[in-house]
Subunit: 252 residues, 2 copies
Amino acid sequence: MTLSKNRIKYIRSLEQKKNRKADKVFLAEGPKLVGDLLGHFSCQFLLATSEWLSRNQPLSVTDVTEVSEEELSRASLLKTPQQVLAVFRQPDEETDVSVISRSLCLALDDVQDPGNLGTIIRLADWFGIEHIFCSPNTVDIYNPKTVQATMGGIARVRLHYTPLPELIRSLKDIPVYGTFLDGENMYGQSLSKNGLIVMGNEGNGIGKEVKSLINRKLYIPNYPASRESAESLNVAIATAVVCAEFRRQAAL
Amino acid sequence: MTLSKNRIKYIRSLEQKKNRKADKVFLAEGPKLVGDLLGHFSCQFLLATSEWLSRNQPLSVTDVTEVSEEELSRASLLKTPQQVLAVFRQPDEETDVSVISRSLCLALDDVQDPGNLGTIIRLADWFGIEHIFCSPNTVDIYNPKTVQATMGGIARVRLHYTPLPELIRSLKDIPVYGTFLDGENMYGQSLSKNGLIVMGNEGNGIGKEVKSLINRKLYIPNYPASRESAESLNVAIATAVVCAEFRRQAAL
Protein backbone atom coordinates (compact mmCIF):
# COMPACT_ATOMS: atom_id res chain seq x y z
CA MET A 1 0.00 0.00 0.00
CA THR A 2 1.34 3.42 -0.85
CA LEU A 3 0.84 6.65 1.00
CA SER A 4 -1.91 8.67 -0.68
CA LYS A 5 -2.23 12.44 -0.70
CA ASN A 6 -5.57 12.05 1.03
CA ARG A 7 -4.01 10.15 3.86
CA ILE A 8 -1.28 12.77 4.30
CA LYS A 9 -3.98 15.42 4.39
CA TYR A 10 -5.97 13.40 6.93
CA ILE A 11 -2.99 12.93 9.23
CA ARG A 12 -2.12 16.60 9.14
CA SER A 13 -5.77 17.48 9.83
CA LEU A 14 -5.42 15.77 13.22
CA GLU A 15 -3.53 18.79 14.50
CA GLN A 16 -7.04 20.28 14.92
CA LYS A 17 -9.16 19.17 17.85
CA LYS A 18 -12.43 19.16 15.87
CA ASN A 19 -10.99 16.65 13.39
CA ARG A 20 -9.64 14.41 16.15
CA LYS A 21 -12.98 14.56 17.92
CA ALA A 22 -15.03 13.80 14.80
CA ASP A 23 -13.26 10.48 14.30
CA LYS A 24 -12.29 9.87 17.95
CA VAL A 25 -8.63 9.39 17.01
CA PHE A 26 -5.24 10.83 17.85
CA LEU A 27 -1.74 10.86 16.41
CA ALA A 28 1.54 9.67 17.93
CA GLU A 29 5.05 9.62 16.46
CA GLY A 30 8.40 8.04 17.14
CA PRO A 31 9.54 4.49 18.01
CA LYS A 32 9.51 4.96 21.80
CA LEU A 33 6.06 6.54 22.01
CA VAL A 34 4.33 4.43 19.35
CA GLY A 35 5.90 1.31 20.86
CA ASP A 36 4.46 2.22 24.27
CA LEU A 37 1.00 2.98 22.90
CA LEU A 38 0.59 -0.09 20.66
CA GLY A 39 -0.05 -2.26 23.69
CA HIS A 40 -2.63 0.16 25.14
CA PHE A 41 -4.69 1.72 22.37
CA SER A 42 -6.37 0.37 19.27
CA CYS A 43 -4.29 1.42 16.24
CA GLN A 44 -6.27 2.55 13.17
CA PHE A 45 -3.27 2.70 10.87
CA LEU A 46 0.46 3.12 10.96
CA LEU A 47 3.19 4.44 8.64
CA ALA A 48 6.75 3.32 9.18
CA THR A 49 10.09 3.00 7.50
CA SER A 50 11.32 -0.44 6.49
CA GLU A 51 13.92 -0.20 9.25
CA TRP A 52 11.27 0.22 11.96
CA LEU A 53 9.05 -2.46 10.43
CA SER A 54 11.86 -5.00 10.34
CA ARG A 55 12.48 -4.45 14.05
CA ASN A 56 8.81 -4.66 15.03
CA GLN A 57 7.42 -7.97 13.83
CA PRO A 58 4.89 -9.45 14.30
CA LEU A 59 2.70 -6.36 14.40
CA SER A 60 -0.99 -6.65 15.31
CA VAL A 61 -2.05 -3.70 13.17
CA THR A 62 -4.10 -4.33 10.03
CA ASP A 63 -3.43 -1.13 8.14
CA VAL A 64 0.35 -0.67 7.77
CA THR A 65 2.09 1.37 5.09
CA GLU A 66 5.81 1.18 4.52
CA VAL A 67 7.10 4.67 3.74
CA SER A 68 10.39 6.33 2.90
CA GLU A 69 11.85 8.96 5.24
CA GLU A 70 10.79 11.53 2.68
CA GLU A 71 7.16 10.35 2.60
CA LEU A 72 7.08 10.22 6.38
CA SER A 73 8.25 13.81 6.60
CA ARG A 74 5.35 14.93 4.44
CA ALA A 75 2.84 13.41 6.86
CA SER A 76 4.66 14.16 10.13
CA LEU A 77 3.90 17.09 12.43
CA LEU A 78 7.38 16.84 13.99
CA LYS A 79 10.35 18.93 12.91
CA THR A 80 12.40 15.75 12.75
CA PRO A 81 10.18 12.78 11.80
CA GLN A 82 11.12 9.58 13.56
CA GLN A 83 10.61 6.33 11.64
CA VAL A 84 7.00 5.69 12.66
CA LEU A 85 3.70 7.52 12.89
CA ALA A 86 0.44 5.99 14.06
CA VAL A 87 -3.18 7.00 14.41
CA PHE A 88 -4.91 5.51 17.45
CA ARG A 89 -8.50 5.36 18.60
CA GLN A 90 -9.37 7.54 21.61
CA PRO A 91 -10.54 5.23 24.39
CA ASP A 92 -13.97 5.79 25.92
CA GLU A 93 -13.56 7.75 29.09
CA GLU A 94 -15.37 6.88 32.28
CA THR A 95 -15.27 9.20 35.24
CA ASP A 96 -15.20 7.41 38.56
CA VAL A 97 -14.93 10.08 41.22
CA SER A 98 -14.39 7.52 43.99
CA VAL A 99 -10.72 7.19 42.97
CA ILE A 100 -10.14 10.53 44.74
CA SER A 101 -11.07 9.04 48.09
CA ARG A 102 -8.77 6.08 47.56
CA SER A 103 -5.74 7.69 45.91
CA LEU A 104 -3.95 10.94 45.21
CA CYS A 105 -5.30 12.64 42.09
CA LEU A 106 -4.61 15.88 40.24
CA ALA A 107 -7.04 18.50 38.99
CA LEU A 108 -6.08 21.05 36.34
CA ASP A 109 -8.01 24.30 36.15
CA ASP A 110 -7.62 25.59 32.58
CA VAL A 111 -4.00 24.60 31.89
CA GLN A 112 -3.55 25.93 28.35
CA ASP A 113 -0.13 24.89 27.07
CA PRO A 114 -0.06 21.46 25.36
CA GLY A 115 3.56 20.91 26.44
CA ASN A 116 2.73 21.67 30.07
CA LEU A 117 -0.15 19.19 30.03
CA GLY A 118 2.02 16.49 28.47
CA THR A 119 4.79 17.11 30.98
CA ILE A 120 2.27 16.91 33.84
CA ILE A 121 0.97 13.56 32.54
CA ARG A 122 4.56 12.28 32.32
CA LEU A 123 5.39 13.30 35.89
CA ALA A 124 2.05 11.99 37.19
CA ASP A 125 3.08 8.65 35.70
CA TRP A 126 6.43 8.85 37.55
CA PHE A 127 4.76 9.66 40.84
CA GLY A 128 2.05 7.01 40.49
CA ILE A 129 -0.85 9.42 40.05
CA GLU A 130 -3.33 7.60 37.84
CA HIS A 131 -6.15 10.11 37.43
CA ILE A 132 -6.18 13.75 36.39
CA PHE A 133 -9.43 15.74 36.40
CA CYS A 134 -9.38 18.65 33.95
CA SER A 135 -11.70 21.64 33.66
CA PRO A 136 -13.48 21.63 30.28
CA ASN A 137 -11.25 24.52 29.09
CA THR A 138 -8.03 22.66 29.78
CA VAL A 139 -6.08 21.92 26.60
CA ASP A 140 -7.01 18.63 24.87
CA ILE A 141 -5.04 15.56 25.98
CA TYR A 142 -5.01 14.42 22.34
CA ASN A 143 -3.27 17.55 21.07
CA PRO A 144 -0.24 16.07 19.24
CA LYS A 145 2.19 18.19 21.29
CA THR A 146 0.63 16.91 24.48
CA VAL A 147 0.74 13.29 23.33
CA GLN A 148 4.43 13.62 22.41
CA ALA A 149 5.35 15.32 25.71
CA THR A 150 3.76 12.53 27.78
CA MET A 151 6.53 10.19 26.58
CA GLY A 152 4.09 7.30 26.88
CA GLY A 153 2.46 8.43 30.13
CA ILE A 154 -0.78 8.83 28.19
CA ALA A 155 -1.04 5.03 28.20
CA ARG A 156 -1.11 4.84 31.99
CA VAL A 157 -2.65 8.06 33.29
CA ARG A 158 -6.38 8.68 32.80
CA LEU A 159 -7.74 12.17 32.13
CA HIS A 160 -11.30 13.18 32.88
CA TYR A 161 -12.73 16.48 31.57
CA THR A 162 -15.38 17.73 33.96
CA PRO A 163 -16.39 21.00 35.63
CA LEU A 164 -14.18 21.24 38.72
CA PRO A 165 -16.51 23.14 41.09
CA GLU A 166 -19.19 20.43 40.78
CA LEU A 167 -16.56 17.72 41.15
CA ILE A 168 -15.09 19.24 44.30
CA ARG A 169 -18.52 19.90 45.84
CA SER A 170 -19.35 16.21 45.38
CA LEU A 171 -16.37 15.17 47.49
CA LYS A 172 -17.04 14.70 51.19
CA ASP A 173 -14.31 15.01 53.83
CA ILE A 174 -11.62 14.58 51.25
CA PRO A 175 -8.66 16.97 51.33
CA VAL A 176 -8.49 19.36 48.36
CA TYR A 177 -5.08 21.02 48.00
CA GLY A 178 -3.88 23.94 45.93
CA THR A 179 -0.69 26.01 45.86
CA PHE A 180 -0.84 29.71 46.66
CA LEU A 181 1.68 32.41 47.49
CA ASP A 182 -0.18 32.91 50.78
CA GLY A 183 -0.54 29.20 51.56
CA GLU A 184 1.12 27.22 54.36
CA ASN A 185 4.70 26.03 53.86
CA MET A 186 4.06 22.53 52.48
CA TYR A 187 7.03 21.05 54.34
CA GLY A 188 5.32 21.82 57.64
CA GLN A 189 2.11 20.05 56.63
CA SER A 190 1.08 16.45 57.03
CA LEU A 191 0.06 15.50 53.49
CA SER A 192 -2.45 12.75 52.80
CA LYS A 193 -2.22 9.71 50.53
CA ASN A 194 -5.57 10.49 48.93
CA GLY A 195 -7.41 13.59 47.77
CA LEU A 196 -7.08 16.15 45.04
CA ILE A 197 -4.23 18.54 44.23
CA VAL A 198 -5.54 21.44 42.10
CA MET A 199 -3.17 23.30 39.78
CA GLY A 200 -4.17 26.42 37.89
CA ASN A 201 -3.86 28.22 34.58
CA GLU A 202 -0.42 29.45 33.47
CA GLY A 203 -1.30 33.13 33.67
CA ASN A 204 -4.18 33.34 36.10
CA GLY A 205 -3.67 30.46 38.50
CA ILE A 206 -6.67 28.75 40.05
CA GLY A 207 -10.05 30.29 39.23
CA LYS A 208 -12.04 32.11 41.91
CA GLU A 209 -14.82 29.54 42.34
CA VAL A 210 -12.44 26.58 42.55
CA LYS A 211 -10.17 28.51 44.91
CA SER A 212 -13.04 29.01 47.35
CA LEU A 213 -13.51 25.22 47.49
CA ILE A 214 -9.90 24.40 48.35
CA ASN A 215 -9.53 23.45 52.00
CA ARG A 216 -5.74 22.95 52.22
CA LYS A 217 -3.71 25.85 50.84
CA LEU A 218 -0.04 25.04 50.35
CA TYR A 219 3.01 27.15 49.59
CA ILE A 220 6.15 25.88 47.85
CA PRO A 221 8.91 27.70 49.75
CA ASN A 222 11.40 29.65 47.69
CA TYR A 223 14.96 30.06 48.92
CA PRO A 224 16.22 31.82 50.86
CA ALA A 225 12.83 32.24 52.51
CA SER A 226 11.14 35.60 51.90
CA ARG A 227 13.74 36.62 49.33
CA GLU A 228 12.18 39.00 46.81
CA SER A 229 12.77 37.72 43.32
CA ALA A 230 11.04 35.04 41.31
CA GLU A 231 7.31 35.42 41.55
CA SER A 232 6.19 32.05 40.36
CA LEU A 233 7.02 28.64 39.02
CA ASN A 234 5.87 27.11 35.74
CA VAL A 235 2.72 25.03 36.41
CA ALA A 236 4.35 21.70 35.48
CA ILE A 237 7.33 22.51 37.73
CA ALA A 238 5.07 23.40 40.65
CA THR A 239 3.04 20.22 40.11
CA ALA A 240 6.22 18.14 40.20
CA VAL A 241 7.60 19.72 43.36
CA VAL A 242 4.27 19.28 45.17
CA CYS A 243 3.75 15.68 44.00
CA ALA A 244 7.32 14.79 45.00
CA GLU A 245 6.66 16.05 48.54
CA PHE A 246 3.38 14.10 48.84
CA ARG A 247 5.21 10.96 47.76
CA ARG A 248 8.25 11.61 49.99
CA GLN A 249 5.93 11.80 52.99
CA ALA A 250 3.91 8.79 51.87
CA ALA A 251 7.08 6.68 51.70
CA LEU A 252 8.31 7.67 55.21
CA MET B 1 10.00 57.56 14.59
CA THR B 2 8.25 54.95 12.50
CA LEU B 3 9.00 51.27 12.24
CA SER B 4 11.07 50.58 9.12
CA LYS B 5 11.09 47.36 7.13
CA ASN B 6 14.78 47.06 7.89
CA ARG B 7 14.15 47.15 11.59
CA ILE B 8 11.45 44.48 11.34
CA LYS B 9 13.89 42.36 9.37
CA TYR B 10 16.60 42.97 11.96
CA ILE B 11 14.36 41.99 14.88
CA ARG B 12 13.25 38.81 13.16
CA SER B 13 16.88 37.98 12.34
CA LEU B 14 17.54 37.71 16.09
CA GLU B 15 15.85 34.33 16.10
CA GLN B 16 19.23 33.09 14.78
CA LYS B 17 22.12 32.72 17.21
CA LYS B 18 24.72 33.95 14.75
CA ASN B 19 22.89 37.26 14.36
CA ARG B 20 22.46 37.72 18.11
CA LYS B 21 26.12 36.92 18.63
CA ALA B 22 27.34 39.29 15.92
CA ASP B 23 25.73 42.27 17.64
CA LYS B 24 25.78 40.89 21.20
CA VAL B 25 22.06 41.51 21.61
CA PHE B 26 18.90 39.60 22.46
CA LEU B 27 15.16 40.03 22.16
CA ALA B 28 12.47 40.08 24.85
CA GLU B 29 8.72 40.60 24.57
CA GLY B 30 5.77 41.39 26.77
CA PRO B 31 5.14 43.90 29.59
CA LYS B 32 6.13 41.61 32.47
CA LEU B 33 9.39 40.39 30.96
CA VAL B 34 10.53 43.66 29.38
CA GLY B 35 9.63 45.47 32.61
CA ASP B 36 11.83 43.06 34.59
CA LEU B 37 14.74 43.34 32.18
CA LEU B 38 14.78 47.14 31.78
CA GLY B 39 16.36 47.54 35.20
CA HIS B 40 19.04 44.91 34.53
CA PHE B 41 20.19 45.11 30.91
CA SER B 42 21.08 47.95 28.61
CA CYS B 43 18.22 48.44 26.13
CA GLN B 44 19.26 49.16 22.53
CA PHE B 45 15.78 49.96 21.33
CA LEU B 46 12.17 49.30 22.15
CA LEU B 47 8.86 49.14 20.27
CA ALA B 48 5.64 49.57 22.20
CA THR B 49 2.00 50.45 21.82
CA SER B 50 0.81 53.84 23.04
CA GLU B 51 -0.99 52.05 25.86
CA TRP B 52 2.22 50.49 27.21
CA LEU B 53 4.16 53.74 26.74
CA SER B 54 1.59 55.77 28.66
CA ARG B 55 1.91 53.38 31.62
CA ASN B 56 5.74 53.32 31.59
CA GLN B 57 7.00 56.88 31.90
CA PRO B 58 9.66 58.08 32.39
CA LEU B 59 11.58 55.55 30.34
CA SER B 60 15.39 55.60 30.28
CA VAL B 61 15.63 54.22 26.76
CA THR B 62 16.85 56.52 23.96
CA ASP B 63 15.49 54.66 20.96
CA VAL B 64 11.73 54.17 21.40
CA THR B 65 9.20 53.64 18.61
CA GLU B 66 5.47 53.82 19.19
CA VAL B 67 3.79 51.13 17.13
CA SER B 68 0.29 49.87 16.43
CA GLU B 69 -0.69 46.33 17.40
CA GLU B 70 -0.51 45.49 13.73
CA GLU B 71 3.04 46.82 13.32
CA LEU B 72 4.12 45.02 16.48
CA SER B 73 2.78 41.73 15.15
CA ARG B 74 4.94 42.08 12.06
CA ALA B 75 8.09 42.34 14.17
CA SER B 76 7.13 39.92 16.96
CA LEU B 77 8.25 36.30 17.18
CA LEU B 78 5.33 35.47 19.48
CA LYS B 79 2.04 33.99 18.31
CA THR B 80 0.25 36.67 20.29
CA PRO B 81 2.35 39.85 20.44
CA GLN B 82 2.12 41.65 23.76
CA GLN B 83 2.34 45.46 23.69
CA VAL B 84 6.12 45.76 23.91
CA LEU B 85 9.23 44.30 22.33
CA ALA B 86 12.78 45.27 23.24
CA VAL B 87 16.30 44.49 22.09
CA PHE B 88 18.85 44.35 24.90
CA ARG B 89 22.61 44.17 24.99
CA GLN B 90 24.08 40.84 26.15
CA PRO B 91 26.08 41.50 29.31
CA ASP B 92 29.74 40.48 29.41
CA GLU B 93 30.02 37.16 31.15
CA GLU B 94 32.67 36.44 33.72
CA THR B 95 33.16 32.94 35.03
CA ASP B 96 34.07 32.78 38.69
CA VAL B 97 34.31 29.12 39.61
CA SER B 98 34.67 29.87 43.32
CA VAL B 99 30.89 30.41 43.58
CA ILE B 100 30.57 26.62 43.49
CA SER B 101 32.44 26.26 46.78
CA ARG B 102 30.26 28.91 48.42
CA SER B 103 26.83 28.14 47.02
CA LEU B 104 24.69 25.59 45.27
CA CYS B 105 25.08 25.80 41.48
CA LEU B 106 23.70 23.91 38.50
CA ALA B 107 25.55 22.46 35.52
CA LEU B 108 23.75 21.53 32.29
CA ASP B 109 25.33 18.97 29.99
CA ASP B 110 23.94 19.65 26.49
CA VAL B 111 20.37 20.59 27.36
CA GLN B 112 18.90 21.21 23.88
CA ASP B 113 15.37 22.50 24.25
CA PRO B 114 15.08 26.30 24.58
CA GLY B 115 11.93 25.99 26.68
CA ASN B 116 13.59 23.55 29.07
CA LEU B 117 16.55 25.90 29.56
CA GLY B 118 14.26 28.88 30.19
CA THR B 119 12.17 26.87 32.66
CA ILE B 120 15.34 25.76 34.48
CA ILE B 121 16.50 29.40 34.77
CA ARG B 122 13.07 30.35 36.14
CA LEU B 123 13.13 27.61 38.78
CA ALA B 124 16.77 28.32 39.66
CA ASP B 125 15.63 31.86 40.39
CA TRP B 126 12.87 30.52 42.66
CA PHE B 127 15.27 28.27 44.54
CA GLY B 128 17.98 30.93 44.92
CA ILE B 129 20.48 29.28 42.57
CA GLU B 130 22.44 32.15 41.04
CA HIS B 131 24.89 30.40 38.71
CA ILE B 132 24.38 27.80 36.01
CA PHE B 133 27.37 26.31 34.17
CA CYS B 134 26.51 25.05 30.70
CA SER B 135 28.43 22.80 28.34
CA PRO B 136 29.27 24.64 25.11
CA ASN B 137 26.62 22.60 23.24
CA THR B 138 23.83 23.61 25.58
CA VAL B 139 21.18 25.72 23.85
CA ASP B 140 21.86 29.48 23.84
CA ILE B 141 20.47 31.42 26.80
CA TYR B 142 19.58 34.24 24.39
CA ASN B 143 17.35 32.05 22.21
CA PRO B 144 14.06 34.03 22.23
CA LYS B 145 12.11 31.01 23.45
CA THR B 146 14.52 30.61 26.35
CA VAL B 147 14.37 34.29 27.26
CA GLN B 148 10.55 34.22 27.29
CA ALA B 149 10.40 31.03 29.38
CA THR B 150 12.67 32.49 32.09
CA MET B 151 9.86 34.90 32.99
CA GLY B 152 12.49 37.41 34.09
CA GLY B 153 14.82 34.92 35.77
CA ILE B 154 17.41 35.78 33.12
CA ALA B 155 17.94 39.07 34.98
CA ARG B 156 18.99 37.32 38.19
CA VAL B 157 20.57 33.99 37.23
CA ARG B 158 24.01 33.99 35.56
CA LEU B 159 24.89 31.42 32.89
CA HIS B 160 28.47 30.44 32.09
CA TYR B 161 29.26 28.37 28.98
CA THR B 162 32.34 26.27 29.62
CA PRO B 163 33.52 22.67 29.09
CA LEU B 164 32.16 20.75 32.09
CA PRO B 165 34.89 18.09 32.48
CA GLU B 166 37.58 20.77 32.92
CA LEU B 167 35.33 22.73 35.25
CA ILE B 168 34.61 19.73 37.46
CA ARG B 169 38.26 18.63 37.52
CA SER B 170 39.22 22.07 38.79
CA LEU B 171 36.94 21.70 41.83
CA LYS B 172 38.59 20.28 44.94
CA ASP B 173 36.62 18.48 47.63
CA ILE B 174 33.38 19.94 46.43
CA PRO B 175 30.37 17.65 46.02
CA VAL B 176 29.28 17.08 42.44
CA TYR B 177 25.79 15.59 42.16
CA GLY B 178 23.90 14.04 39.28
CA THR B 179 20.65 12.07 38.98
CA PHE B 180 20.74 8.49 37.73
CA LEU B 181 18.31 5.58 37.67
CA ASP B 182 20.91 3.61 39.67
CA GLY B 183 21.73 6.44 42.10
CA GLU B 184 20.99 6.59 45.84
CA ASN B 185 17.49 7.62 46.95
CA MET B 186 18.02 11.37 47.42
CA TYR B 187 15.72 11.48 50.46
CA GLY B 188 18.17 9.27 52.34
CA GLN B 189 21.14 11.53 51.59
CA SER B 190 22.47 14.51 53.48
CA LEU B 191 22.62 17.16 50.79
CA SER B 192 25.06 20.07 50.97
CA LYS B 193 24.47 23.81 50.70
CA ASN B 194 27.23 24.20 48.14
CA GLY B 195 28.48 22.24 45.14
CA LEU B 196 27.28 21.43 41.68
CA ILE B 197 24.18 19.57 40.51
CA VAL B 198 24.69 18.25 36.98
CA MET B 199 21.67 17.66 34.73
CA GLY B 200 21.92 16.00 31.33
CA ASN B 201 20.65 16.11 27.77
CA GLU B 202 16.95 15.37 27.11
CA GLY B 203 17.61 12.18 25.18
CA ASN B 204 20.99 10.96 26.34
CA GLY B 205 21.31 12.18 29.91
CA ILE B 206 24.72 13.09 31.30
CA GLY B 207 27.68 12.42 28.98
CA LYS B 208 30.14 9.65 29.75
CA GLU B 209 33.12 11.83 30.69
CA VAL B 210 31.09 14.11 32.97
CA LYS B 211 29.38 11.08 34.52
CA SER B 212 32.74 9.62 35.55
CA LEU B 213 33.49 12.84 37.46
CA ILE B 214 30.28 12.86 39.51
CA ASN B 215 30.93 11.79 43.08
CA ARG B 216 27.36 11.85 44.47
CA LYS B 217 24.85 9.90 42.39
CA LEU B 218 21.24 10.57 43.33
CA TYR B 219 17.95 8.94 42.42
CA ILE B 220 14.57 10.69 42.45
CA PRO B 221 12.26 7.97 43.78
CA ASN B 222 9.20 7.16 41.74
CA TYR B 223 6.03 5.94 43.45
CA PRO B 224 5.20 3.34 44.48
CA ALA B 225 8.87 2.37 44.73
CA SER B 226 10.08 -0.06 42.06
CA ARG B 227 6.85 0.16 40.13
CA GLU B 228 7.50 -0.51 36.45
CA SER B 229 6.15 2.34 34.39
CA ALA B 230 7.50 5.80 33.67
CA GLU B 231 11.14 5.60 32.73
CA SER B 232 12.18 9.18 33.15
CA LEU B 233 11.26 12.73 34.00
CA ASN B 234 11.65 15.78 31.80
CA VAL B 235 14.99 17.46 32.60
CA ALA B 236 13.42 20.66 33.93
CA ILE B 237 11.07 18.62 36.13
CA ALA B 238 13.94 16.54 37.51
CA THR B 239 15.97 19.69 38.15
CA ALA B 240 13.08 21.21 40.10
CA VAL B 241 12.46 18.15 42.25
CA VAL B 242 16.15 17.85 43.11
CA CYS B 243 16.62 21.57 43.84
CA ALA B 244 13.49 21.57 46.03
CA GLU B 245 14.95 18.74 48.13
CA PHE B 246 18.33 20.50 48.52
CA ARG B 247 16.53 23.62 49.68
CA ARG B 248 14.14 21.72 51.98
CA GLN B 249 17.11 20.17 53.77
CA ALA B 250 18.98 23.49 53.84
CA ALA B 251 16.04 25.16 55.60
CA LEU B 252 15.69 22.45 58.27
